[in-house]
Symmetry: C2
Subunit: 199 residues, 2 copies
């Protein structure tokens, strides 16, 4: 192909390597960058390197942070007797948005998935057990995703924690608020029935 602008092609390739970005979108994004002021491209570039350099895992909860220990773990206002165990940092974001949960978190960074070669050792389970060792935690909320892997991981960790006498809870299953019963799958509906409450 005669039309081959090296730096442009490289930029298209870099965009194309991102998940869910195809060739056409990558081209459109690259052309867009070229159409923007130089400062935009530079700011984007430094955001990439800065994020990758400065953001790492919190030494306590394993969530992403720019500090050694994240602001949630160091916040004296939070309830240190409760730990909510989630799969990834995105889940922490979602919980924090509710502004309801006041305890701490622990991020596993995945789920046990033998097919993908991910066993308990690849997850931050050892780090969780270390945090539970001093007896200050009274409740662990298992908030892994409601998938087969999420369930398996939750029950694996529950079995590890149970002997320590810590209360273990799981997020309630049920119909989503604002949803239509027509679209609820039967498994969810069955769980919603099982978990029904008096009003």
């Amino acid at each position: 192909m005669a039309y081959n602008v090296g730096p442009l092609n490289e930029l298209i390739t870099q965009f194309e390597r991102l998940p869910s970005i195809g060739r056409k979108t990558a081209q459109r994004l690259a052309f867009y960058i070229l159409s923007q002021p130089k400062e935009r491209a530079e700011r984007f570039a430094s955001a990439l390197t800065e994020a990758r350099e400065k953001v790492h895992l919190c030494d306590k909860c394993q969530c992403l942070t720019e500090f050694d220990t994240c602001p949630i773990c160091t916040d004296e206002q939070r309830d240190r007797s409760t730990i909510c165990v989630v799969e990834d940092p995105k889940a922490v974001m979602v919980f924090e948005k509710t502004q309801e949960y006041k305890g701490l978190y622990h991020v596993l960074h995945g789920t046990i998935s033998p097919l993908d070669g991910i066993g308990p050792d690849q997850l931050k389970i050892k780090e969780l057990m270390t945090r539970l060792a001093d007896g200050s935690v009274k409740e662990v909320i298992m908030a892994t995703n409601p998938t087969v892997e999420g369930e398996a991981t939750a029950s694996y960790i529950s079995r590890l924690i149970k002997p320590m006498g810590i209360r273990i809870t799981r997020l309630a299953y049920g119909i989503p608020v604002g949803g239509d019963l027509e679209y609820a799958d039967s498994v969810t509906l069955t769980r919603a029935l099982e978990g029904r409450n008096d009003i």
Copy 2:
């Protein structure tokens, strides 16, 4: 929100500013970057700055290039008597992929669109007229998009060129190869009928 990692938020914002990237996708892309080796982020960052710094407009055809004059304009093998006028550099890419067209190009960088405040002076029309002045070009192919603005721009430029005695052509309208007549709109079908050929 307590969960606020500065560099991560900045990266999400940068992704979100790209066209067709929403908040959720921006978050997913940013988390993906953090999950990748540091070299990936650095290579992406340098691709951004390099492309923006090194790529500029060809001094002849106004297409994107890293050189003063692009490889197509300097290629002695190409037919210098034909210029294909397109709206943007992406169109040049598409033409070059066919490997059929052997002439030169001229990129307008837009179409006349009074509603968006784009008049003939904002496009690279003056540069096209300069190229045509020496009389070496025998044919100009108007290959703007088959939209109202593309048509208007093509006919505006045609009126400018006509007095110079240069042949002006327009891409053929018709049904796309491999398409189904069922999905052809009636305007396209009418044009296909009008342009029918003997077989």
